[in-house]
């Protein structure tokens, strides 16, 4: 019910057809304008400019550290680095529109896995093997479970930057204490806790189902604990029979059991994480648990500082008896990465720039803004972070993890996201049974 200007009060038949054309063109422009406007707004300039490399990053508060690192680099380098930022949440969309144009950067921020897979497939990215051969630290200075996220087809395409974001089971210590509970170590204990909290009139587990991706986290952990990371890797590799396997059915059955036990209440699809709905449930004591990425801590700290200081608890996802997955495995966003365009004019300068990603200065600066870098020298500086206990816990969790599964919606190519998100939402609210869910997952494009 928008755009009253697109209808004119006209009398003649000529004007009348003009009006319908206005409607028509408005619709058509929506698409095309969107595509072409993206091309013009990259703002990164030409990569062929003499003696400069362009570093493209997601434009948010993390940019303070990136600016500092670029300044440090420029002090000693003849080839100067220029930092470009794309503000807002449309980073991936805008990157996609400029990556194969003269506006493409030399180095760009990404999430590894599926977020760069289409670029690798189109031969746009530089494998970093030669960089690593010249400087083994570019690989060995990072935790292996994290570094491997940006390895595609046996070749490394990214160097970790910013921090890791594992998914943890957060809890409200006060709510648990009032109910005589402690964080659950096993699945059975979690089910028992759910029943106790429900009897106390609480929503046992806060879930921002309206955003869909928080729901996905439950699938990721259950599949990993029940079957280990192999099942998902097999499915991602194109063997869709993995989704129909006994382990897959078992994981879905357990999820159903949890939903039917009332673990998430009855309104989870009307609640979002992104507008503060589900974090508020936890902070205000209306819910006992929330499964969320490590950014939950910063989110709660900003919205509910007192709660975060005294009552925000966290633990690893419970073990599942009979499951073949390692209880130390974690899932989430392993890290952000810098990848390099194949047609960069200054590969040597880029290699020098990437070395800064494991420098002491980088680690200290990241910890200073609340990010947790996954370099091997990180532990030396953990005491300087804003919350050493939380960061140490997270770092050890990631370090000890035999496998760190990248979020499914990041591991699959972007074209799979919508169908995947809809499937997990519909399975959780009972509109899709296990067979339909398996069918939906088997239909996802893997490349």
């Amino acid at each position: 019910m928008r755009s009253p200007a697109s209808v004119s009060r006209s009398r003649t038949s000529r004007n009348r057809s003009a009006r319908t054309r206005i409607v028509v063109s408005a619709l058509a422009c929506t698409l095309v304008a969107g595509v072409t406007a993206g091309c013009g707004s990259g703002g990164s300039g030409s990569a062929s400019g003499s003696g400069t490399i362009h570093i493209l990053v997601y434009g948010d508060t993390g940019n303070t550290v990136e600016k500092q690192i670029v300044d440090t680099f420029n002090k000693t380098s003849k080839v100067k680095a220029v930092l470009d930022t794309i503000p807002g949440a449309n980073y991936q969309q805008k990157l996609q529109t400029i990556i194969n144009t003269p506006q493409a950067p030399d180095v760009f921020f990404n999430w590894g896995g599926g977020s760069i897979a289409p670029f690798v497939k189109d031969g746009l990215l530089l494998p970093l093997d030669s960089f690593i051969a010249a400087d083994p630290n570019l690989k060995s200075a990072f935790l292996p479970s994290v570094f491997n996220t940006a390895v595609i087809g046996g070749k490394a395409y990214g160097v970790p930057m910013r921090g890791t974001q594992p998914v943890l089971l957060f809890d409200n210590k006060k709510v648990l204490a009032d109910a005589g509970l402690t964080p659950p170590a096993s699945w059975d204990q979690l089910i028992a806790d759910v029943q106790t909290l429900k009897a106390k009139g609480k929503t046992p587990i806060a879930l921002g189902g309206g955003d869909q991706w928080p729901t996905l986290m439950w699938f990721e952990y259950l599949y990993d604990r029940v079957a280990g990371p192999g099942l998902f890797e097999k499915a991602l590799g194109g063997d869709t029979s993995a989704w129909a396997s006994a382990d897959s059915q078992k994981a879905l059955g357990m999820l159903k059991q949890l939903v039917d036990a009332g673990a998430f209440g009855s309104t989870f699809d009307s609640v979002k994480f992104t507008d503060g709905g589900s974090p508020a449930l936890l902070a205000k004591g209306k819910a006992g648990f929330e499964l969320m990425g490590s950014w939950e801590y910063a989110t709660q700290k900003a919205a509910n500082p007192d709660f975060t200081k005294t009552d925000l608890g966290y633990s690893n996802f419970p073990t599942i008896t009979g499951g073949t997955g390692d209880p130390n495995d974690v899932v989430g966003n392993t890290n952000n990465f810098y990848s390099v365009l194949k047609n960069t004019k200054h590969p040597d300068a880029v290699a020098q720039f990437l070395k800064l990603m494991y420098s002491d200065e980088f680690v200290k600066a990241q910890l200073g803004i609340g990010n947790l870098p996954t370099t091997t020298n990180t532990p030396q500086f953990l005491t300087t972070s804003t919350d050493p206990a939380y960061d140490t816990y997270q770092y050890n969790l990631v370090k000890q993890a035999p496998s760190f599964q990248l979020s499914w919606d990041q591991a699959y190519p972007p074209s799979a996201t919508t169908v995947m998100h809809q499937a997990v939402q519909q399975f959780m609210d009972g509109k899709m049974d296990a067979a339909a869910f398996i069918k939906a997952m088997q239909s996802l494009p893997t490349s």
Binding site: M1, R2, S3, P4, S6, V7, R9, R11, S13, R16, R19, T20, R21, I22, V23, V24, S25, L27, A28, C29, T30, L31, V32, A33, G34, V35, Q96, T97, I99, N100, P118, F119, D122, L124, G209, G210, D211, Q212, S266, T267, F268, D269, S270, V271, K272, D275, G277, A280, K284, K286, P414, S415, T417, T418, Q422, Q425, Q426, D429, K431, M432
Partner: protein, 311 residues
């Protein structure tokens, strides 16, 4: 008296004819060039490009790949596409059905001379000044099942799972749309109602017609063209609704509120399937054009007879 007027008019007509005959030429084709260029650049060219794209597979990187009719056959067998058209039609219809009676009544009221009318009208038009995004974010917070209105009014909202069910989320979208746009249509009806000649009401009053009879026998018939205008606006707006869906439901739960415009966005900018999105866009273009033509024919909007005839 009559003959004087006729003579004057004839004289004026002669003067005009003389003046336009000397020096002035009829507007040539050149006058249409700027408009034609802009129209081609911003309407025809994009439309043709979208049509071409709909026969390609393109993820936004590199060159589009020609894949023939694949997008179209996929769309033909796509249950979500059909559902999205149905949902677009449903939301549009709901918009018209809900907003038309309310805005006619309010518009006619606001056209009167009651005490405090101006003040109340000013407050009433506030939603019109807010951006659709702000309105959607506002209602999303107000309707939160745990912290919003539903948590305090369980007798009305049940468990408050408004955005987690299909009927609830469609209801919310229709309501928010009405909340935002009824003021605009009220404004249009206010203008229409003010233009109704007062003599009609005076004559009706002398004949003993009350307020209700006056409304149904004078106001409503006189507003005929205004009603058509307002409904055309509602239909066009309804078919292109996008932002409320993006913010309030994201097409969910599942695909329960995935209207065509949002589906196009989803395919293009979330799944990076610009070929498929172009096909959806073309379907929307065709559907919107057909609806527009049908409306114009059925309502007689093209004839646009004056309601003031015979006065």
């Amino acid at each position: 008296m009559t003959s004087t007027t006729t003579t004057l008019a004839a004289a004026a007509g002669r003067r005009r004819a003389v003046r336009s005959g000397v020096g002035a030429t009829r507007p040539g084709l050149a006058w249409a060039v700027p408009a034609t260029v802009f129209f081609s650049l911003f309407a025809i060219v994009p439309l043709v490009l979208v049509a071409v794209l709909s026969f390609t597979g393109w993820n936004g990187i590199g060159a589009p790949k020609w894949i023939g009719l694949s997008n179209w056959t996929a769309l033909w067998h796509d249950p979500v596409m059909l559902k999205s058209l149905w949902l677009s039609a449903l939301l549009t219809t709901l918009g018209v059905v809900i907003q038309t009676p309310i805005s006619i009544l309010l518009g006619v009221w606001a056209a009167g001379h009651q005490r405090n009318r101006a003040v109340l009208s000013a407050i009433y038009f506030v939603p019109l000044l807010l951006s659709v995004t702000a309105v959607s974010v506002l209602w999303r917070a107000l309707l939160d099942p745990n912290f919003g209105i539903p948590s305090d009014a369980g007798w009305l909202f049940g468990n408050g799972n408004l955005l987690g069910t299909q009927s609830g989320s469609i209801g919310v979208l229709a309501f928010v749309g009405a909340w935002q746009w009824t003021p605009l249509h009220t404004l249009i009806y206010q203008g229409g109602a003010r233009a109704v000649p007062q003599v009609l009401y005076q004559a009706a009053a002398i004949d003993g017609a009350g307020t209700v009879r006056q409304f149904f026998h004078i106001t409503l018939p006189q507003l005929r063209n205004t009603i058509i205008t307002s409904m055309v606006l509602m239909v066009v707006g309804g078919l292109t609704t996008f932002d409320t869906v993006l913010i309030l439901t994201q097409g969910g739960p599942g695909t329960d509120t995935t209207i065509s415009a949002y589906y196009m966005y989803q395919q293009g900018f979330l799944s990076f399937d610009f070929g498929g999105a172009s096909a959806i866009a073309l379907v929307l273009v065709v559907v919107a054009t057909l609806i527009s033509l049908v409306m114009v024919r059925l309502t007689g909007y093209d004839r646009m007879n004056s309601t003031a005839e015979g006065l």
